[in-house]
Amino acid sequence: MVVYIDMALIEFTNRGIYCKQGNFYIDPWHPVDYAVTTHGHADHVKWGNKNYLCHELTKPILKQRYALEDNVETLPYNKEIDINGVKLSLFPAGHVIGSSQIRLEYKGEICVVSGDYKVEYDGISTAFEPVKCHTFVSESTFGLPIYTWQAQQLIFDQIISWITDNNLKGKTSILVAYSLGKAQRLIKNLAGHYPIYVHNSIANLNEGFAGAGVQLPETIRITPEIKKDELQKGIVIIPPALADGRWVKNLQQPAIGVCSGWMAVRAGRRWRSADAGFALSDHADWPGLLEAIKATEAEKVFVTHGSTAVFAKYLNEIGISAEEVTTKYGAEDDDIIGESTENTVKEEIQ
């Protein structure tokens, strides 16, 4: 039997999640000396830290988005390093390319900070791997039992038939997806049907990934030279900030399909007033969250963002000790926050 001593490996400070023993932060929202980064979305990585440690596939994202390179150390999955006596290793979180759960071990005590995650394999991000631990830090973006995703193949089939229908009717199919994550997932899974045209912010990231050895199907960067009727016959992928813009309105009969977990609920679909909503999410659904948490066998769960209060209360009721903590990750109404600081998004394409 393990004797449990109260020596928390992490604490929640106003700069972010802090590991005292190792003297580093995980996904801090204010600048620190040493930031361990779970993944490349803007609510988890900020510019201005002295040093970064992340997965090797997150590095091209930091380079692309923040021009960070020299002060970024990388690790592959499953390789342990030592920081001031704390053993640190990365495990796949399945959220986006390079996304990692951070496993910390100190004197037999294990803590895992999962960042954002999903349990279904999306074909492009390394599949989520449950890690046993004493303390688990979880998101709860979709922490309500109303969120249960369909298998992604079913959703891609729906998207393809929507595009085919648009194509016949002379409409241009525009898919709205985050540049990092959702866009690559769509490209990977929709390839082979129609040519795929992508916005600069997506094309730039894809180039970064290619440089790091990630094989993505061929896409075409949208430039002013591309004719509107070519776009009409293909698939156009743009980030959310552009969905209401002038550029989209000027396309041939634009039909907008929003790909987001929020589309699972009618109110979400109507709020966005898209032509179609596909409940495709890079976050775990309700059964996914529960499955992931149970698999950790954690004695204590901290819920960081999303339906934190509700989810923590439920975990306690089913016998898993849980507590909500206030962080600056996520946003209750919109998971596009991670994109909104991206400069390229704000620019019109032409």
Partner: protein, 530 residues
């Protein structure tokens, strides 16, 4: 049901009337003919008897999904629709069956009178056979309550387009008395039931709000001015010795107003009157809050009959001697109306809504200022040459309402909306100052743009005090100007008074919470309006 399910999805995804009409037209072109009358019945609010009550349905859904009740409640508050919440929390279906819509509806109707066990078995079995979207629709069929932004007018226009028939004829037909299991789609379009049915009303003629100065309407002699009354717009139909009272909500409300039943004996046959149902006591129109005591009640007691006696102010006559006279000019209809009302033996219950004599627009503007003294909302302007057209049309009829009252308040609670706005805090409670305290004065949910809603939403998320349930108490910081139509004493409200039809006029970002109005300000206003 798959075709119907597709229709619902199409209707929900667009805000554009043309898209919705196109979706309806293609549905009526393609769907099973037997389903169509049921769809029309549902969209026009003809509800069948509810076979299973809501609390049982909810209880079974909770049981089947294995989640605690509080979590179901949280889910509901996030989704904003009970049918949809149930559809989403249930475990995945084990099979899929497809039956035509009318068959589902008939099977549900057959549950009436069965015991709860039998009902439960049928409902659970069905849930287990439908996908999420179909379950949602099935749950809506149980409640019979489809609110998806299809107005009667829109539906009628779509059917008219699909069938190439006259839209007012279709409006008559679908507003009449019919049962979806007794009529065919074709019969409904042709109005086969209408001839044998005495009840049907005409579509109401509605007015736009006057946005310019009345001087721009031209010569005063071309116009008739009447008071605009604040009651229930209604039509009284007398045909073949039967009397029907319709409200503007296209509901038959005959039984609710026994005071008007004498018209069955006194009105000639073949007469349809347009007017306002009001509470009139000793010849005086009473406030809307008094009238409210009489609305939507199954039984009426003596004191209600005594305190809020009903009267009918007639505006217009649409049918006379069994003939549709809506195309005659207003001037001529008015004189017919005067004759009909003058011929009533019982006086002072069904009255002529008085015409206001005025010589100039200036004079009328002065008269309008006195509207509140007689519980009127302002003035109606109707062109003497106007026909009684269908619905809203610009030009002939204008409502020239008095300006609303306003009060500066601070937001103290926020609640998530329903429908399209379910994920946002859109329903707010406002308070005024009462000494050192804040006291609730109104709830309102309209009047902000989507962008402002997002802004308020993020304020609520950052400043909420508790975290469970649908209501958040927030820091009293945001100041809103609330517009309202009237003020009345109220024992049910903590403030001791209630505002009539409060809504957000604007967000006063320029004001701080200590600059809002006080309860005393409102009490003074109340005293001045009594």
């Amino acid at each position: 049901m798959k075709r119907f399910s597709q229709l619902i999805q199409e209707l929900e995804l667009s805000n554009k009337t043309n898209d919705k009409i196109a979706a309806l037209v293609s549905y009526f072109n393609e769907a099973d003919d037997r389903d169509k009358p049921y769809v029309i019945a549902m969209f026009t609010g003809k509800k069948p008897k509810r076979p299973v009550n809501t609390s049982l349905i909810k209880q079974w859904a909770i049981e089947l999904s294995g989640i605690p009740e509080w979590l179901f409640a949280e889910s509901y508050s996030s989704v904003g629709d009970l049918s949809e919440t149930i559809a989403l929390v249930l475990p995945p279906a084990e099979r899929n069956i497809d039956k035509p819509l009318h068959q589902w509806i008939n099977e549900l109707a057959q549950l009436n009178g069965k015991d709860d066990e039998a009902k439960k078995e049928y409902i659970l079995d069905t849930w287990n056979s439908l996908n999420t979207q179909e379950r949602f629709i099935f749950n809506k069929l149980i409640s019979g309550n489809f609110r998806i932004g299809v107005s009667n007018k829109m539906l009628v226009n779509a059917i008219a387009k699909q069938s190439d028939e006259d839209s007012s004829k279709i409006m008559h037909s679908i507003m009449g008395k019919w049962q979806p299991d007794e009529i065919t789609y074709l019969g409904l379009i042709e109005g086969a039931h209408v001839n044998t049915d005495n009840s049907w009303p005409y579509p109401f003629c509605l007015a736009y709000a006057l946005e310019t100065e009345p001087e721009n309407l031209g010569d005063t002699t071309e116009w008739q001015a009447e008071w605009k009354w604040d009651g229930i717009r209604g039509q009284i139909v007398k045909r073949n010795d039967e009397l029907f009272i319709w409200s503007r909500g296209e509901e038959l409300v005959t039984d609710q107003f026994p005071e008007l039943h004498f018209l069955k004996d006194e009105l000639p046959n073949g007469v349809v009157l347009d007017g306002e149902i009001l509470s009139i006591k000793d010849g005086k129109v009473q406030s809307f809050s008094t009238l409210q005591q009489r609305l939507n009640r199954k039984t009426i007691n003596k004191s209600q009959l005594n305190d809020a006696p009903i009267g009918f102010f007639t505006y217009d006559i649409l049918e006379f001697n069994g003939e549709d006279i809506r195309q005659e000019p207003l001037e001529k209809r008015r004189s017919t109306l005067e004759n009909v009302i003058g011929g009533l033996v019982t006086k002072n219950i069904a009255l002529l809504s008085p015409v206001i004599n005025f010589k100039s627009w200036e004079q009328l503007a002065t008269i309008r200022e006195t509207a509140r003294e007689i519980n009127s909302e302002g003035i109606m302007l109707k062109k003497l040459s106007s026909t009684f057209h269908t619905g809203r049309k610009r030009g002939d009829w204008w409502k020239w309402k008095i300006n609303p009252f306003t009060v500066d308040t601070v937001m103290i609670y926020a609640q998530k909306g329903s429908g399209r706005r379910a994920n946002f805090f859109t329903d707010y409670t406002f308070a005024v100052r009462d000494g050192n305290k804040l006291i609730t004065i109104a709830k309102a949910y309209s009047g902000l743009t989507d962008k402002e809603i997002k802004e308020v939403n993020s304020f609520v998320n950052k400043n909420a005090i508790e975290k469970f349930g649908p209501v958040r108490t927030v820091k009293p910081e945001l100041v809103f100007e609330i517009a309202f139509e009237g003020i009345a004493e109220s024992k049910r409200h903590k403030a001791g008074l209630a505002l009539r039809f409060p809504r957000i006029a604007r967000w006063r970002k320029d004001k701080k919470a200590d600059e809002i109005n006080t309860l005393d300000d409102l009490r003074q206003l109340l005293a001045s309006t009594l």
